[in-house]
């Protein structure tokens, strides 16, 4: 039923002319952001983005691009038209990954070296709170209603549920080794947490913190140790979950109801992060070791092309409609 709805929606999407979005890719070692056009897949620009840019996101109105400049201990903010840096935001030390509140403010930032989540008001440019979390915080997810932000700590191996009103941790869920990413479904009913070294994605009921299922991965001919889940994205209707599998150079396509792995798509080398275009026609993957991004046609379940970007692409975000 859900599958039919998705197929219909995708068919409809496919019938319409493709809309062009701007795709922003952070290049960790190149210290730049590459801008791509989602219709032509041409590189529109590559601009300096500070030292060791990793996490990357965009304001809901598409006007401001936020980049974790990890080695500058700041979030750099860029105009998405001119690519000029407009200002920086205080981020705490070594910001790696962050998530923006659905309203566009504040920004919740994982400080990898300091076991903190820093909450920064993007308008006043002030730090609102610092929340102590586990060792090596990285993954950041926020519930669609904006009430709970989830941080994953890579050495503590937990998902920490933080109340966005009180900035208190209200719940912790122990997951497998080295959790890298947390992603809610659009209805807020499920939370997916990847464990890079554990090799699993935990499906969590955010209401109770209970792990409902652990998704595991297996590709014939590939050493199981190389199947390292990192980035996770879920379609709006929750029917498909895409999981980047690091040095196996695969993206897993998972059924969002049964949590069965349906397919493995071969992409570039060491795939870490993923982003959909707003129409969910395409999924873009960052391939850190082949210095390119792979473009997946979501409906067809196929990799349609790869586009060279800067050095060691890390994160990706697509501008809204």
């Amino acid at each position: 039923m859900i599958r039919t709805t998705l197929a219909a929606a995708l068919l409809l999407g496919g019938a319409l002319p493709a809309q062009a979005y701007k795709v922003f890719v952070s290049n960790e070692r190149g210290n730049t952001v590459t801008v791509l056009d989602s219709e032509t897949w041409e590189v529109l620009a590559e601009f300096p983005a500070g030292n060791r840019p990793r996490g990357i996101t965009i304001s809901p109105d598409g006007s401001e691009l936020y980049v974790c400049a990890s080695d500058d201990d700041a979030v750099r903010v860029f105009d998405t038209e001119t690519y000029e840096e407009t200002h920086t935001l205080p981020s705490g030390p070594d910001p790696e990954l962050f998530v923006l509140h659905p309203t566009g403010n504040p920004l919740y930032i994982a400080n990898e070296d300091d076991n903190l989540v820093t909450v920064t008001d993007v308008q006043t440019r002030q730090v609102l709170a610092e929340v102590p979390v586990g060792v090596e915080p990285e993954g950041m997810g926020i519930s669609p209603d904006g009430k709970v932000v989830v941080n994953t700590s890579e050495t503590t191996n937990m998902a920490h549920f933080i109340d966005t009103e009180t900035f208190e941790i209200v719940q912790n869920t122990l997951v497998d080794q080295r959790p890298r990413f947390a992603q809610f479904t659009a209805d807020g009913a499920r939370l997916y947490v990847s464990a890079e070294i554990g090799g699993t994605v935990s499906v969590i009921d955010p209401a109770t913190g209970e792990i409902l299922h652990k998704i595991t991965f297996e590709v014939p001919g590939i050493q199981p140790e190389l199947l390292q889940p990192v980035g996770v994205r879920v379609t709006q209707d929750g029917s498909r979950v895409f999981v980047a599998l690091g040095p196996s150079n695969r993206v897993a396509v998972v059924d969002g109801e049964t949590w069965e792995v349906l397919d493995y798509l071969l992409v570039g080398q060491r795939v870490w992060q993923l982003a959909f275009t707003p129409d969910e026609r395409f999924l873009i993957t960052t391939n850190g070791n082949s210095n390119d991004v792979s473009i997946i046609d979501v409906a067809a379940g196929e990799v349609v092309r790869s586009v060279p970007v800067g050095q060691q692409p890390w994160g990706v975000v697509v501008a809204p409609e």
Binding site: E136, G198, S202
Partner: protein, 392 residues
């Protein structure tokens, strides 16, 4: 209650505090200055790694209702037994030992029932075989694991003809044995073998390099055709003098040149940069192998405590040896224990002192259980009986 919570992954920070105490004993052996002053041992060697692990464990413990305390001591070999007895009398049941074989065995045999020892230094093969002890888990890799890690790389390079140069001390002979076994295991040939006798001279003080530049070419001349020189110098007597000074233009590996390592401060992959940053902030110096191994030993403890909700040393040992244990250790795959001899399975870095050149096991070295078991003593090879053969 705690166990039930852990099973469902639903945890709160309000559980009653449970204290996890550990001790770290470092034995300081009398030794000459290292050949390279970059290798001068810092005062907090190993201890700083243990402190970082304790901080990491504490951070996790605050969410789990556990607190961690670690006591660190450094003693000469003749005082190790007294220090150990004092720690045990004070109630310590988890002891990380940075000691050589003789002292490690003395502690293992003196330990009352229920004391768990984690070996973070001794590399002897015998400790994982006929001299194994049920109360010792080996976090440090064995000589065989290190030699196998290097051998796989050399064979992958098709550098199959080795010129083995070993020192004259018993540890050097043991290391040479590990390289001979590794060559046989992976199909390399030792085409020439020489002993560098420690005559107590030749150190690069003053103009020592002038002498070295004359001695080493002469020492290495007229060797059978080889692709690589493999140095077995556990005593730090000669290996650093070999690179660039050999008669033939062959790369050097083993105790100098390309070395098998558990850690080095330039290792960056798999999140290691974060570990380096945290350590350097804590200790004010780069992280060494001893620090990494002490860190790893206490992280094994922390991980077992987190998952079992028990601070009991027997429960920790059982969990560590069991099928559910796995730990992320900045090596790109989980590290686990061999249940037949208590050895931690782990990838081995190959470094030239500047960067990570490669990491073993190498591609194509296959094993029916884990590629990591291509390094060191596999189940059928170990003569260890203290673990009842594990769970085949």
């Amino acid at each position: 209650m705690g166990a039930a919570l852990a099973v469902f992954g639903l945890l709160t920070g309000s559980a009653a505090a449970q204290e996890v105490r550990a001790a770290v004993i470092r034995v300081d052996y009398p030794s000459l200055l290292p050949i390279s002053r970059l290798d001068l041992p810092p005062e907090d060697l190993g201890h700083a790694g243990a402190m970082l692990a304790t901080e990491d464990n504490r951070t996790t413990g605050q969410f789990m209702g556990q607190s961690y305390e670690t006591e660190t001591v450094a003693v000469p070999p003749e005082e190790v037994r007294a220090a150990f007895d004092r720690l045990v009398a004070e109630g310590h049941r988890i002891v990380v030992a940075l000691a050589r074989r003789e002292e490690l065995l003395a502690l293992a045999d003196a330990a009352p029932v229920g004391v768990l020892i984690l070996n973070a230094r001794a590399t002897d093969e015998a400790l994982r075989s006929e001299e194994c002890r049920a109360n010792v888990l080996h976090v440090a890799p064995s000589d065989g694991m290190m030699a196998d890690a290097l051998a796989q790389f050399l064979v992958w390079k098709q550098w199959d003809r080795w010129f083995l140069i070993h020192g004259s001390h018993p540890e050097d002979h043991a290391l040479a044995d590990a390289y001979r076994a590794a060559a046989a295991k992976f199909g390399a040939r030792i085409v020439e073998e020489r002993e560098f006798v420690d005559t107590g001279g030749a150190r690069v003080a003053d103009t020592g390099h002038v002498l070295v530049q004359r001695q080493i070419p002469v020492f290495t001349q007229d060797a059978a055709t080889h692709e690589v020189v493999v140095a077995a110098d556990a005593s730090d007597v000669f290996a650093p003098y070999l690179p660039y000074q050999t008669w033939d233009a062959a790369p050097v590996a083993g105790s100098a040149g390309l070395r098998p390592l558990t850690w080095h401060p330039a290792h960056e992959a798999w999140g290691a940069t974060q570990m380096q940053n945290r350590f350097e902030e804590l200790a004010g110096r780069p992280m060494r192998e001893e620090d990494y191994q002490a860190w790893l030993a206490l992280r094994v403890v922390g991980e077992a405590v987190t998952r079992t909700q028990s601070a009991d040393s027997v429960a920790i040992r059982d969990y560590a040896l069991g099928p559910n244990f796995e730990l992320a250790a900045f090596k790109g795959q989980p590290v686990t224990f061999r249940d037949w001899n208590g050895q931690l399975r782990q990838p081995i870095l190959l470094g030239d002192g500047r960067i990570t050149v490669s990491v073993s096991p190498q591609d194509g070295f296959l094993h029916e259980v884990s590629p990591l078991d291509t390094l060191g003593l596999d189940r059928p090879e170990s003569r260890c009986t203290a673990f009842q053969g594990g769970q085949p």
